[in-house]
């Protein structure tokens, strides 16, 4: 784990805590109860600030002792260390998911789902068109059967136009 990134994230959390605390001060104790609306948020802000402050303190105090920016990892490990990692692909997957949610009410699940599945699988490196189409169509049929058929959930099925 890059200690600079860890430090940056801790600073972001510290800033968030301060802003959250400031927003919580606007909820005065106007009700007739001991704690009031703003007490717990303020306490939470203090906890987050202390925690992130501790992380910042530990990183800075060990900065000179550590000879490299890479420090023992606290992060969740990847599935298999033998395969390369792409830090961009997850963000692209989020983009595909957002696109799917935008498309869904407009063009329905029957059109948007196969498109999203194929886009997602292409991102994962699947190139064979037959596999892409068969998974996309099969998954769409399964989702339609489960949600619209069995669970009788009202979903937009077809394009609205």
């Amino acid at each position: 784990m890059d200690r600079r990134a860890d430090l940056f994230v801790a600073v972001v959390i510290l800033v968030f805590s301060v802003l959250y605390f400031l927003a919580a001060t606007s909820y005065g104790d106007t009700s007739r109860e001991p704690l009031g609306e703003g007490s717990l948020p303020r306490a939470l802000a203090v906890i987050m600030a202390l925690g992130s402050g501790w992380v910042i303190f530990r990183r800075l105090s060990a900065w000179r002792r550590e000879w490299d920016h890479w420090v023992p990892s606290e992060v969740e490990q990847d599935d298999d260390p033998n395969f390369p990692v792409s830090p961009i692909r997850p963000l692209l997957m989020v983009g595909v998911a957002v696109g799917y949610v935008v498309m869904l009410p407009a063009i329905g699940i029957v059109v948007s789902t196969p498109l999203a599945v194929m886009a997602g699988m292409r991102l994962w490196g699947v190139r064979e068109w037959r596999i892409l189409l068969s998974v996309a169509v099969g998954l769409t049929a399964a989702i339609y059967g489960l949600f619209a058929g069995f669970l009788e959930v009202r979903l937009p099925l077809w394009p609205a136009f």
Binding site: M1, D6, V9, I13, Y20, A23, S31, E33, P34, E37, L40, P41, L44, A45, I47, M48, G51, S52, W54, V55, D68, W70, V71, P72, S73, E74, V75, Q77, D78, D79, D80, P81, F83, V85, S86, R89, P90, L92, V94, A97, V98, Y100, L104, T113, V117, G120, M121, W124, G125, V126, V135, L139, I143, L146, F147, L151, E152, V153, R154, L155
Partner: protein
């Protein structure tokens, strides 16, 4: 006691008639299938199928729902073990431990262990319900706001210190989760907080969307970092049911998890999530190999799983004994009973003994049905989830998003889920565990409401937290859990400074996996 044992016997005899047995079996199958789908849970199936039960006699409706609840408990284990996505916070640590089994090609074995611990947990909790419903119902009445607050704190501190490698970051993650629950109407005054003028924030963020986002969507996004397919060997399951020696090793943590799950499940407001983490934490405390926890520990896996399942029987106690739902699933059980004109409570045994019989019979017979159908589902599930990694993860993401959308037909909920998922992804990348955040999303509202109402009850006096015995014991346990990592770290440091020098080590810096130490 004799009448309750008679209730249990009558319940089982009633459950093995053709129609009730068919309804229980159908419920179990639905529960397993829906529970196995990422982003969905048995609760979804129950909510959607509630109208179908209106045409049934009350006992058959109860048989059906008990089947779904029992089946869903095992169904949640399938995605937890096979792709590391827990369906609910009550199976987070099962996912952490179980997925390590799957990575070693032992997914079938893990599911077999889960099946056995689920069966044992459910059966023992069903028997526990029969034997202890009256005394525990009396005891749980004494669990007031301060006790529920203390229990929630215990669950959160356990999750914060056990999940992840840095307890301080775990506490920050838990606090952040509670902070998210403060968006929306205040639990006491109902005035909106942190809405900044947006109507959708004034009503609060949907908790289910956020939980699915932070647990499921974040894992699915995280998995996209690597694009590879699982080896063909992963599709083979080998032996499913554990051997006798494995059962012997598992019996201790399984028993511990069952007891903890049952008693915590019996307390209103606690539920399976708290029971799961507390059981996991206690199993680690008593384990001879605590260093294996988080890396595919069988003890941690079965303890958490047994607690999750045993809590079903425990949750029935306040639900039927007091008319207070013991967990989210029990809310729907109560709804069905009330619609049929049955009021759960202390007089249920006299007023509607058939319902009590159906509950116990449904739980016990449903557990046997869960074992049978669960066993049959393991090999197909392992094969299906192992055929193509891209297809499984992309499909799981799409199903999760549709599942969220289907709750309230709201795109906003899906966006909330995606934002929570993206935040969860970055939390995982920088060492902030998502488990305490997810648990905090469930408990955050309870913590604040019970704390503030408790203080109103005591006219603002905090002495209730030092004078009520149960509160003192639970908060003391929370303190032990919170301080344990620091004490362990200090003791280990002392041992290292007094131990003889280790062989010469070299350091290999890996670009993505931190520092690896190699011994020459």
């Amino acid at each position: 006691m004799d009448s309750l044992i008679g209730v249990a016997v009558n319940g089982v005899l009633a459950a093995i008639h053709p129609l009730p047995l068919a309804l229980i079996s159908l419920g179990v199958i639905i529960g397993i299938i829906v529970g196995a789908l990422p982003g969905l849970s048995a609760l979804t199936a129950m909510a959607v199928l509630t109208p179908i039960t209106f045409g049934m006699v009350p006992t058959n409706a109860v048989f059906f729902f008990m089947g779904i609840i029992v089946g869903g408990q095992f169904g949640n284990s399938l995605p937890a073990v096979l792709i590391g996505t827990p369906g609910t916070p009550a199976s987070i640590m099962s996912a952490v431990e179980g997925y390590e089994f799957q990575k070693r090609g032992e997914g079938g074995k893990a599911l077999g262990l889960s099946l056995v611990s689920s069966t044992v947990g459910q059966l023992l909790s069903g028997i526990g319900f029969v034997l202890l419903v009256i005394p525990l119902a009396d005891f749980s009445v004494q669990f007031l706001f301060p006790e529920i607050f203390a229990l929630s704190v215990l669950g959160l501190t356990t999750a914060a210190t056990l999940a992840g490698r840095n307890p301080v970051k775990g506490i920050v993650a838990a606090a952040f989760g509670i902070a998210l629950t403060t968006i929306g109407p205040d639990p006491v005054t109902s005035r909106p907080r942190f809405s900044f003028g947006y109507l959708q924030l004034e009503v609060g963020l949907d908790i289910v969307s956020m939980i699915v986002g932070i647990l499921v969507v974040s894992e699915l996004i995280h998995a996209a970092r690597q694009s590879f397919n699982w080896p063909a060997g992963q599709r083979a399951t080998g032996r499913i049911l554990p051997t006798l020696s494995e059962l012997k090793k598992a019996s201790g943590p399984m028993g511990l998890g069952t007891v903890i799950g049952f008693f915590i499940g019996a307390l209103p407001g606690a539920g399976a999530s708290v029971a799961h983490f507390v059981a996991y934490g206690q199993a680690k405390l008593f384990s001879r190999h605590p260093e294996r926890f988080g890396k595919g520990s069988m003890e941690g896996f079965v303890a958490g799983d047994a607690a999750n399942n045993a809590s079903s029987g425990g949750e029935l106690i306040p639900t039927l004994g007091l008319g207070i739902p013991g967990g989210p699933g029990m809310v729907l059980v109560l709804v069905v009973l009330l619609i049929h004109g049955i009021t759960p409570g202390p007089g249920l045994l006299q007023s509607a003994p058939g319902v009590l019989e159906a509950t116990v019979g449904g739980l016990l017979v449903g557990t046997v049905a869960m074992f049978v159908f669960g066993y049959l589902s393991i090999r197909p599930a392992v094969y299906l989830f192992s055929v193509s990694r891209p297809a499984v993860y992309v499909g799981a993401l799409v199903i999760s998003l549709i599942g969220i959308y289907s709750l309230r037909s709201s795109s906003f909920d899906v966006y909330v889920s995606l934002i929570a998922g993206t935040m969860g992804y970055f939390m995982r990348r920088y060492g902030y565990p998502v488990a305490p955040t997810a648990l905090a999303l469930i408990l955050g509202g309870l913590i604040e409401e019970n704390l503030r109402r408790g203080l109103v009850m005591t006219f603002g006096s905090f002495t209730v937290f030092f004078t009520r015995p149960a509160v003192v014991v639970i908060l003391a346990l929370s303190g032990v859990v919170l301080l344990q990592p620091a004490v362990t770290f200090y003791l280990r440091k002392r041992r290292r400074t007094t131990a003889p020098a280790a062989p010469h080590e070299s350091i290999d810096v890996s670009a993505d996996h931190g520092i690896r130490r190699k011994q020459r």
